[in-house]
Symmetry: C2
Subunit: 202 residues, 2 copies
DNA sequence: TTGCGAAAACTAATCGTATTAGTTAAAATA
DNA sequence: TATTTTAACTAATACGATTAGTTTTCGCAA
C-alpha cells in the first residue's frame, strides 16, 4: 500500500473540524491533526500555510454553515415564527459544531474577504426576516445587532458551561427569544420615541 | 542597587492585567510579562504556578471587577433604571478591561471555588434588581440568563469588531436593552403563558 | 514501457515559549 | 554576626510551529 492516497485540503479541513468540535478549538494543533491524518506535521504545509490559515478557513466554514442552518430554518416562515426558527437554528449550529463556531468568533483575520461576505449574508438574512415588521431601516439594523448579541451571548455562555443553576436551558432560551420578540412589538408601536433616543437611552 | 526590590503577586497581576487589556489576552505570555517586570521568566514561578494559574487569577479579578461596576451602578436605582444602569456598567467594564473580561470568559478551570463565588455574586445582584418586577422565581432566573446573554453577546461582538456597519453602537445597545425591558413588561403581564411554554417556545 | 517533472511526502534542523532543576545572592531573623 | 529563608538567576528540557532540503511517488509524454 502506497503512502500516497489521501490528504487534500477538504480532508484536512474535515478532520480539523472534527477535532475542533470534539476537543475544542484550542486543542487543534498541527501535531494532533497530522497524527489523526497519519502524516508527519510538515506534510500539512503542502496544503496550507499554517495553523492560522487553517483556523481562518474553519472560521469561514463556520459562518457559512451558520447561514445554511438559518436559511433552512427561515424558509416558509415569517415574523415571530421566523425569528424563533432562525434563533433555534443558530443555537443548534453552535451545539453541533462548537469548535467551528468558536473559530468563527475568534478569527485571526477579520479583514478576510470571504469571511466578511459570509457574515454579511447572515446579516442580510436576518434583515429579510425583520422586514415583516416594517421597521425603519435604521431601527431594523439595530435589531439585527440585538438579535445577534442575544444569540451569540446565549450560545457562548452555554458552551463554556456558564449557566450554573439547574434550570432548563432550552426554556431559558425560548423565554429570551420571546421576550425579545415582545420587545420588538413594543418598539414597533413607539418607533419615534426610540429614534430620538439619546445615548443615555432615556 | 539591589536586584531585590519589587515583585509580589499583586504587582505581577497588575502588570499582567495591563498587558491583557492593552495587547489582548493572547499576547500575555510569561516571557513578555517577565520582560515588562525586568525579570527573567523563571523568576515568576516563585510567585505563581504558571501561565494557566495566572489567567485563572485574571479571570477571577475580572468577574470581581464586573461585580463592583454593576454594584456601583445599581445603588439608588430600581427596576427599568437599574437594568439600564447595570447594563451600561457591564459594557463599560468590558470596554475598559477587555483583557480581564476576556479572561473571565475563557478561564482554564471552571470549577474554581473563588471564581464560582464571584460569578454567583453577579447573578445575585441581577436577581435583586429584578425583584422589583415581582416575577415568579423561576422566570426571574430565566431573565437573569437572558440579560447576561445580551450583555455578554453585545460586549464580545463589539470587542472583536463584529459590528460592521457604520451605525452608532451605543444606540444599538440602548435599543437592545430597552427592547428587552419592554419584553420583560410584556412577559410580566402574561407570566402564566410563559410558565407553561414548551421547549418549542410556542 | 520507460523516464521526466511536478506534487507531496519525508527527515532534520530552527525557533519561540513554557517549564523544571539546580545554584546563588539577598533579606529577614535569631 | 550567623543562619535560614526567599526569590532571584543560569542552564537545560520539552513541545509546538515552522522552514530547509531531500526523497519518493504519481501522472504523463516520448
Amino acid at each position: 500500500m502506497s503512502r500516497r492516497m489521501k490528504l487534500d485540503l477538504s480532508i484536512i479541513l474535515q478532520k480539523a473540524t472534527e477535532i475542533a468540535d470534539e476537543q475544542g478549538l484550542d486543542q487543534l494543533s498541527i501535531g494532533l491533526l497530522a497524527e489523526k491524518l497519519e502524516v508527519r506535521p510538515p506534510s500539512l504545509y503542502n496544503h496550507l500555510d499554517g495553523l492560522h490559515e487553517l483556523k481562518q478557513k474553519l472560521a469561514i466554514q463556520g459562518v457559512k454553515k451558520l447561514h445554511e442552518y438559518m436559511l433552512q430554518a427561515a424558509v416558509g416562515r415569517s415574523s415571530d415564527d421566523a425569528i424563533r426558527a432562525i434563533s433555534k437554528a443558530y443555537l443548534q449550529l453552535v451545539r453541533e459544531h462548537p469548535g467551528l463556531y468558536d473559530a468563527s468568533t475568534r478569527f485571526p483575520d477579520a479583514n478576510d474577504k470571504e469571511l466578511q461576505q459570509a457574515q454579511e449574508s447572515v446579516v442580510q438574512l436576518v434583515l429579510q426576516v425583520l422586514d415583516a415588521y416594517h421597521l425603519q431601516e435604521e431601527i431594523a439594523i439595530h435589531m439585527v445587532r440585538g438579535l445577534r448579541s442575544i444569540l451569540h451571548g446565549f450560545s457562548s455562555i452555554e458552551q463554556i458551561g456558564g449557566f450554573g443553576m439547574p434550570l432548563d436551558i432550552n426554556k431559558s432560551f425560548s423565554i429570551l427569544i420571546n421576550t425579545f420578540i415582545e420587545g420588538i412589538h413594543a418598539v414597533m408601536d413607539n418607533e419615534d420615541k426610540y429614534m430620538q433616543m439619546n445615548e443615555a437611552g432615556e
